[in-house]
């Protein structure tokens, strides 16, 4: 499982990354992208045209299937209940965000353990850094976009500061590595 957190400046990177993933991949992707709640277009619409894989906004208890992109819809936190099933929650926003990257990452960390890659992209707040700690604690990997490259470096920097072991990469390097794992 590959989980991705992004905020300000992250949408276009996300599209660029997902565009490179071949349809026959056995990996799945799960994304939290911060956006304004009032945004009309659904999150899935945003990514659909950018990639070859099917894109879904999970509903309560939706099945987790390989070769798909899942993106957290607005107003709900997205969690993994287990390897087969998503869960949702309306608990309070974290860093003003619901969906929150921390919530997704923490639950994924526990469920996927060593089979997890967490990627943090450009963003203007610290959501995601607590989640990255959990990913590391459970044996997963964290890849962070280089703050030097990121349009908004706060999110990647906070993630790097929160953990001891992570890979700091340019988006180009992230894409290269992704292609090897899928």
């Amino acid at each position: 499982m590959i989980i991705i957190g992004a905020s300000a400046g992250g949408a276009k990177l996300l599209k660029a990354m997902l565009a490179e993933i071949p349809v026959n991949t056995r990996q799945s992707f799960c994304v939290v992208l911060h956006r304004s709640e009032s945004c009309e277009q659904s999150y899935a619409e945003l990514l659909k045209d950018a990639c070859l894989l099917p894109v879904y906004e999970p509903e309560d208890k939706q099945a987790v299937v390989e070769g798909c992109v899942y993106i957290a819809g607005s107003r709900y936190h997205l969690l993994f209940e287990n390897k087969n099933e998503f869960a949702l929650s309306v608990e309070q926003p974290i860093c003003y965000s619901r969906p929150s990257i921390d919530v997704l990452f923490s639950s994924a960390a526990r469920v996927y353990r060593q089979e997890l890659i967490a990627i943090v992209l450009s963003g203007n707040n610290a959501d995601g850094s607590n989640g990255c700690k959990e990913v590391i604690r459970h044996g997963g990997q964290v890849w962070v976009q280089s703050p030097l490259e990121a349009e908004f470096p706060v999110m990647p920097s906070s993630a790097i500061d929160a953990i001891d072991e992570c890979m700091v990469l340019t988006v180009e390097q992230i894409i290269k590595r992704l292609k090897k794992t899928v």
Partner: protein, 280 residues
């Protein structure tokens, strides 16, 4: 050697078992992912090192088990949450309700009441408020107390005003509350026909002869098994052709009873009980 994450799961199940033995409340059919988050948060707020640290106070400290039980519910709510649902209620449910001389409505899992007052506003604007009896229930007594008072944080006003406008409100949201200090209070008139009471969907029985049941954003915390059971409870509680509204990401898909309901509007998660077949 048992691994860290397995240990955590074991601790959660031991705590929930202890809680059940001591208070009778049963969280075993709740979604595990959010239960673990909730337990971890409450653990941190108590300054406990481990989730298992709940066990001794549950057993020996008077009142602790009850407090914990209440603290485990996720109660975040808002007025006119998901405004689209209110538009559809106005279009599809209200006209049907108007055909009855007297109407009974049940909000199951009403939390601090914002949803109850929102629907009351809609009913008032539709001229139905005098003809309804509303039951608003939750198992959490703390939120029920707040719901009775009808108070909400005045910092939320702008958001609620927005939601109200999007839901097709006819007037201004500010026509329905007044401010006292930091808090805002819904007009008392809105809750005259509302009965707030404690009811646990896991253990308590059905409410008779409802025309409309709203249970929004409660099923996301239940596993399939419990969803199915509670849906049975709603089925029993509804009149023939009664309406059911769920939260906007919830569904009937996991229930054996899904055939017993027809979809009225899927995006608004509005369903209607099929007429009961009379076997000849």
């Amino acid at each position: 050697m048992i691994e860290d994450y397995q240990l955590e799961e074991l601790e959660v199940s031991l705590v929930l078992q202890t809680l059940q033995k001591c208070t009778g409340v049963d969280f075993s059919d709740y979604a595990k992912s959010s239960m673990l988050r909730r337990l971890t948060d409450v653990k941190d707020s108590h300054g406990f090192a481990n989730i298992a640290d709940f066990i001794v106070p549950i057993l020996h400290q008077p009142g602790f088990a009850h407090q914990l039980h209440q603290a485990l519910s996720i109660t975040a709510t808002e007025a006119f949450r998901f405004p689209y649902a209110f538009i559809q209620i106005k279009e599809a449910v209200i006209p049907a309700l108007k055909t009855y001389p007297f109407v009974k409505i049940w909000h199951a899992g009403c939390s601090t009441g914002e949803e109850v007052y929102s629907l009351a506003i809609l009913l008032k604007e539709e001229g139905l408020l005098e003809r309804v009896q509303i039951y608003a229930t939750d198992y959490n007594e703390t939120v029920l107390e707040k719901a009775k008072q009808g108070c909400f944080d005045s910092r939320d006003i702008e958001k609620y005003e927005n939601n109200y406008q999007q839901s097709g409100g006819r007037l201004k949201f500010s026509d329905y509350y007044h401010i006292e200090g930091e808090a805002a209070f819904f007009d008392k008139e809105l809750s005259e026909n509302v009965l707030f009471s404690c009811h646990n969907l896991v253990t308590d029985g059905c409410f008779g002869e409802m025309h409309f049941i709203l249970c929004r954003n409660v099923f996301i915390y239940f596993n399939r098994n419990l969803q199915d059971r509670v849906l049975g409870l709603f089925y029993e509680s509804l009149v023939s052709r009664g309406f059911l509204c769920l939260g906007d990401k919830e569904s009937l898909a996991f229930s054996e009873l899904k055939e017993a309901f027809e979809e009225v509007n899927i995006k608004a998660r509005l369903f209607r009980k099929q007429p009961v077949e009379v076997s000849s």
